[in-house]
Amino acid sequence: MMWLAELRTAALVGTGRHDAPQPPAELGFQAPDGLSREESLLDQAALADIVTRATRTASAASSAGFPSPAPADAVPQASGEAARLLELLLTQAPVGPGLRTQLVVDWLTLAEEARRRVPHRLLPALLTLAETQSIVFRRMEPAIGTRGRWMQEIKGQPSQEPATQSTGLRGSDAAAGYGPLRGRDPAATRIQLSECWTSLSARERAGNLALFAGNLHDNDEALLEKALDDKAKGVRDVALRLLDQLPGSARAARMAARLKPLLQLKGLLSKRLEIDLPPDPDKEALRDGVPADPRKGEPDRMARLEAIVRGAPLDVWTSVTGRNRPATVALLQDEPRVLNAMIAATAARNDVEWARALLGVLTDRRLLDCLPPDERAHWLERHVRESSDEPLTLAPLLQDLPQPWSVPLAEAVLTVISGKDGGRLAVILSEGLPTALPPEVTERCRQLLAQTDKDASRRRVLRDAVQYQSFKQSLTEAFR
């Protein structure tokens, strides 16, 4: 409207410099006589205000941004107490953020088992939480229901989690799909990769070869041998690391041939094992991964020995000593670097027998991971109960164990925690402890909590554990 535009101009520059316009005749507005410019302008401003507000019209509906309606949900929604608990967790969680996430995951799991879905009104808060907590994201299906998937579509969220690590190479179509394929069909991947080996860049060759680590097979040896001659160091390193996992390979045999002459039993009763340091590596040895001499300074001859130990089959040791594994290991007690290399070889080959033997003289997380779950839990439990080591040394052994722990293990750990110097262990484990402790030991935690204890952080960890269990109990009951 011309009038409004003129009115705005007059008001902006001021009536001192610009006359107020005449109101349009069709509004039937009759200004009283004798008004000053300012009064006339303000009168018209009041009129403009009323006219604008009284004559609003609806905008025409645009179809942009219009979602197609969500299909109906087939699964009934969680109601009553279950819904209330989820709302409590999402809006004003009575527990810390870590526990909150875990409890939301528990809720989703229980909902799936009970064939219930998240109430519609709680979906936004849940989806927001899932944006930052990938574990929630992974557990959302199927409890978010049709409406939840519809919301994800609208918000443009991927319904599959974005890959956290780039597996293999990017950019090359030929190899982009190797990651999943290697999981399903290792042989096919090997053949494909060998065929296009020369057309790939060094980084792509290394990345794709590294995918083999999960399910390496003796048949992969030929390709790995070929990779040892690769001109890129990155590719050679990956191949060497993988060949360390294959004690039956030709390279392992070559390493065995290098190791054997270095080992000698000494003493009247052959109770001493002497280990010589390897000679300067020749071309073949360099190809097999024995480190070259540095350009400056003394060569690290011990590192050469370690590389050989890691590559050679472990049975070389028993064949030289003529003793069984534990007895052989006992001879090596004063050689920490050699033992460390043997641990690396054991872990790479997942060798249960050697792991048991080595655990007899030293404790290492990598060895524990080679044991079957039951045996590992049993070993840990005994170790936690009997070990007189500093409690903190238990932390790396206990972290990332499958949860929940067995009852005896949990009880043993609680004993250590509640003992002298146990507070710091409690703090280090605080993240996973509440979920790791099985419900059977909750009562024990309660008792410990009731005791007077000056260590506030230990109290907090125990309180978290009790809170988690009681909340989880409420969740279980709510879904019953």
């Binding site: 520059v13 001021g14 009041a46 609806a58 645009s62 941004g65 009575p94 936004p124």
Partner: protein
């Protein structure tokens, strides 16, 4: 008075951090000497100091006392005690009232009696009242004159010049208005400072408001020609509060009242809660609650609840402000809010409301069969192809609840935009 529910306690909390702190204390460990009777809940909470904090709560006319130095009100200790009591974990009835709680209750009782006596003893002195009224009118007249002059100065020098003024310039004008007992106008002027600096359409906004203020000044000067309702609206716009005691005495409308929706806002200084309720005859009334920062607002009413309560109305044109004049008893939960309007009808209502009272900027609307469009800040579409923009809308929540299907939405129509407060889906009234 029965035991409170946990929700009641949660609603009494001044903010969520107090509540979180209270939850940490809501286990029997730190509490001693707890007890309750029909009026009081009390207990001692061991804090970091040597002497435990003494906490007493009057549960009938909610009042809280704690010996801790917190400025939150109620403090975390009072909330924690109430949580424990609400869950039945502590403060069971039967114990003898603790001394500190009894002392406090007695003090309160004495104060209440004194106040009552003062109110009863001092009958309104009509002469003094008339004198005070004349003085106030004179003060307001002078203030309105001064403001009109400021408005003419504003348009003489031009709005562009006003935009270059600092916030303090607007604040000075607002302060003068407050001195002249025109706080409602002062609030609008103070708010204009940020609008002028923040809006892209600031020129139109300021021009229209200047016009509105001008009309308001004129209406005040010509108040003798206004109907009582119109005059009440002018008074409310200028910020002349009507004493609730005056409203108490007027006719009360019986229930059941249906809660249509509520909005809470917090501008950093003041928390405000607007609750729209509808009477059996279709009368819509808005309840206003205010609380200073850090204090608890009145407990919100659940949208869709049917309340058995009587409501008195403040003077003014519809929709009037109302207040509860009796105890509130929730009767039932409604499955719908009734029949609503199309977007075009809603805008016609807005026109009519502007014509009735140009000072009102907000009208309640129930829109039928509208779908939510998430473009920009959100839109509502109706089946006739009309659309209205949304304001302050929790879009994700609206989409999750409606799933893109048509639903009835209740909200406030303000400046041609809808602030959605309540959604009706699947036979349930929900707050998004």
């Amino acid at each position: 008075m029965g035991r409170w529910s946990e929700e009641t306690v949660i609603n009494a909390a001044p903010d969520s951090s107090s509540l979180a702190a209270a939850r940490k204390l809501a286990h029997p460990g730190p509490w001693t000497d707890c007890g309750s009777n029909d009026d009081l809940v009390w207990g001692k909470c061991q804090g970091s100091g040597k002497t435990p904090y003494q906490v007493s709560v009057d549960i009938v006319a909610p009042a809280y006392r704690c010996s801790c130095p917190s400025r939150k009100f109620p403090c975390k200790h009072a909330l924690a005690l109430l949580l424990l009591w609400a869950r039945g974990e502590a403060a069971e009835a039967g114990a003898e009232t603790a001394d500190f709680a009894k002392e406090w209750a007695d003090q309160r009782a004495v104060r209440a009696t004194v106040k009552e006596r003062r109110n009863a003893v001092q009958p309104a002195d009509p002469e003094a009242q008339a004198k005070r009224l004349t003085a106030r009118l004179a003060l307001m007249d002078a203030g309105v004159d001064d403001f009109s002059r400021w408005l003419t100065d504003l348009v003489r020098t031009g709005l562009a010049a006003a935009r270059n003024q600092p916030y303090s310039w607007w604040d000075a004008v607002a302060a003068r208005l407050v001195d002249s007992q025109l706080p409602g106008l002062a609030e609008q002027v103070r708010d204009m400072a940020s609008q002028v600096h923040g809006r892209t359409d600031w020129a139109d906004h300021l021009l229209r408001h200047a016009g509105r203020w001008w009309a308001l000044s004129k209406a005040w000067s010509g108040r003798d020609n206004l109907t009582p309702e119109e005059f009440a609206d002018v008074k409310a716009a200028l910020g002349w509060a009507t004493a609730s005691a005056d409203v108490q005495g007027t006719e009360s409308l019986p229930g059941p009242w249906l809660v249509l929706g509520a909005h809470r806002s917090d501008d950093g200084r003041l928390q405000q809660q607007r609750t729209w309720i509808q009477g059996p005859d279709g009368t819509v009334v808005v309840l206003l609650d205010f609380a200073a920062q850090g204090q608890g607002l009145a407990a919100p009413q659940l949208a869709g609840a049917l309340l058995d309560v009587t409501v008195a109305r403040y003077p003014g044109t519809t929709p009037q402000r109302g207040m509860f004049t009796g105890p509130v008893t929730p009767l039932d939960v409604a499955s719908s809010l009734g029949t609503g309007h199309s977007i075009v009808q809603a805008l016609e209502h807005e026109s009519a409301a502007v014509a009735r009272s140009p000072w009102r900027t907000r009208i309640p609307v129930l829109l039928d069969e509208v779908t939510v469009n998430s473009e920009g800040t959100g839109w509502l579409h109706d089946p006739h192809g009309d659309a209205l923009p949304l304001v302050d809308a929790p879009l994700d929540s609206l989409l999750a609840l409606t799933g893109g299907h048509a639903a009835s939405i209740f909200g406030e129509l303000e400046d041609g935009r809808v602030r959605p407060l309540t959604v009706v889906v699947d036979g349930r009234v929900v707050t998004p």
